[in-house]
Amino acid sequence: MRLWKSWIVTQKDLSVFKKNKYVLYSLVAMPIIMGVVLPVIFIFALNAEIVTLSHAQSLAAANQIVSIATMYLVLIASILPSIIASYSFVGEKVEKSLEPLLATPTTDGELLLGKSLAAFVPCMAVTYIGAAISAPIIDYWSYTKLGVLLIPNLYWLLVMGVIAPLSCIMSVEANIIVSSKVNDIRAAQQLGGLVVLPLVFIVIFAATSAQLSILLALVVSVGLAVADAALFFLSKATFQREEILTKWK
């Protein structure tokens, strides 16, 4: 596997995305909504409650808010690939550009990795930008109101460092499989969105079970790693040049 070859494909895809307004808007809007708007809403909600709570209760409530806000960031990593990967794979299908690409001296694995990275890199970049925006907002509020910095904590690090990338990989792989079955970008996005629905339920579940957050985050991480491994083999089987040329209709 020559990583530099994969990186050429990734760079090309990123150049294509840069010219696509729909992808660009999605990349800008998601961190703003998940990284700024939601934390601010939570903080406003908490501000109203904090006057009636003790310091310990306020801290517990604030930690719950952090858990929820953090898991929302995972949604960026899970949802965005359905937009970007659909352009990466179905976009090639629509432009009928896969055949000349497959005719180059590049292996299936290098192409798959390159295209997967093209979806993974911007999604994770945007997720971390969202985290980089929300963390100071939350910390500023918690420091001024409660005298503590809530982020980073173990849960936050686990979610950002493990769950978010694993969720992103799962979404990218699911979208590769979806791409082999559909012919237009919207259908790919809708189906890709459906595929990540279970992940959304996990986020909601985690957000409402904040007391179990670290244990839950570990369980979710293991579950995602197993799902990623299974999807990896399935997507690799799907992404073979013969399969693409003769069966991707």
């Binding site: 050429i8 009928k96 896969l98 055949e99 000349p100 690409l101 001296p105 590049t106």
Partner: protein, 309 residues
């Protein structure tokens, strides 16, 4: 340069290509002619290592399509223009070619030189930074051909290079292929266009799942009928007929409307003798022509025969 032996490909129960055996010499322009579904694209895809074969052998240069590591080497020495150009519309012409140049592992300096040379040759250099989406179909086709040539391949596979192009754009592309022919690039051309095949190809393979015929366009045209010479005269007399019949090189003579239709194996050699014999017998020749079948006649006859089997 290309050796193919009993190459076959099945898709489920459908036999797309059956026992194709042929060779293509270095510097030759070789055409595949055949109706839709005849197996032309499947054959080319197998030769480019895009899809596998069911049975048989094929080699491009020193490399076999059987072997995965050889396949990477084959893809490195072949250029491929698919039926659909498949360019990235949002990227510039330059960026499209640069991307493929990098994938074909062309060094930076060489890549830049090749892109400039090809785009200048095709008259697109001034518009190199324009998005490909803004170009006409013909220009896109030219860029796609440039893409197939960016790594200076030893063999160029062109699948329907002028399909869907207007006559002017088709001519530009054909002229470009003729230029490549002069540079001795080995070219394999898939086409429906008989006129194009006749003009560009040194040899043509007529394919209908199986290989129906392989020969030069001229020999294919002659294969339908024996070679015939037609002599137009002011008048045909018995003396003239007798003089012609006496020639050993003339196999058969028919007379019709002041014309003599002669079956001759080697007209280039024997026509002067015929002319001399007619003149000696008192005949006044107006002109001498060859009765030829067209490539279309041959193609249709062979395809019908192949379909009937």
């Amino acid at each position: 340069m290309i050796e193919v032996e009993n190459l076959s490909r099945k898709f489920g129960n459908l036999l797309a290509v059956e026992n194709v055996t042929l060779h293509v010499d270095e510097g030759e322009v070789f055409g595949f002619l055949g109706p839709n579904g005849a197996g032309k694209t499947t054959t080319v895809r197998m030769l480019c290592c895009l899809i596998g074969k069911t049975s048989g052998q094929a080699r491009i240069g020193d490399f076999s399509v059987d072997n995965e590591s050889d396949c990477l080497k084959i893809r490195k020495i072949v250029g491929f223009l698919p039926e659909n150009v498949g360019l990235y519309d949002s990227l510039s012409a330059y960026r499209n070619l640069d991307f493929y140049g990098r994938l074909y592992e062309v060094p930076v300096q060489k890549r830049q030189e090749n892109i400039e040379r090809l785009l200048r040759l095709l008259g697109i250099w001034e518009r190199r930074e324009d998005s490909v989406g803004t170009f006409s179909k013909g220009t896109k086709q030219k860029i796609a051909i440039a893409r197939a040539l960016i790594h200076e391949p030893q063999v160029l596979f062109l699948d329907e290079p002028t399909a869907n192009l207007d006559p002017e754009a088709a001519k530009t592309v054909r002229d470009f292929i003729l230029d490549l022919k002069k540079e001795k690039t080995t070219i394999v051309l898939n086409t429906h266009n008989l006129d194009e095949a006749e003009r560009l190809c040194d040899r043509i393979a007529i394919l209908k799942t199986r290989l129906v015929a392989v020969d030069s366009p001229k020999n294919l045209e002659r294969s339908l009928y024996n070679r015939k010479t037609i002599v137009h005269l002011e008048g045909v007399s018995d003396a003239i007929l007798a003089a012609v019949k006496n020639l050993s090189s003339v196999k058969n003579v028919r007379s019709s409307d002041n014309k003599l239709i002669l079956d001759i194996d080697d007209p280039e050699k024997d026509n002067p003798k015929v002319v001399r014999a007619i003149v000696s017998a008192g005949g006044n020749i107006q002109y001498v022509t060859e009765l030829r079948s067209t490539l279309e006649d041959v193609y249709l006859k062979l395809i019908r025969e192949a379909s009937a089997k």
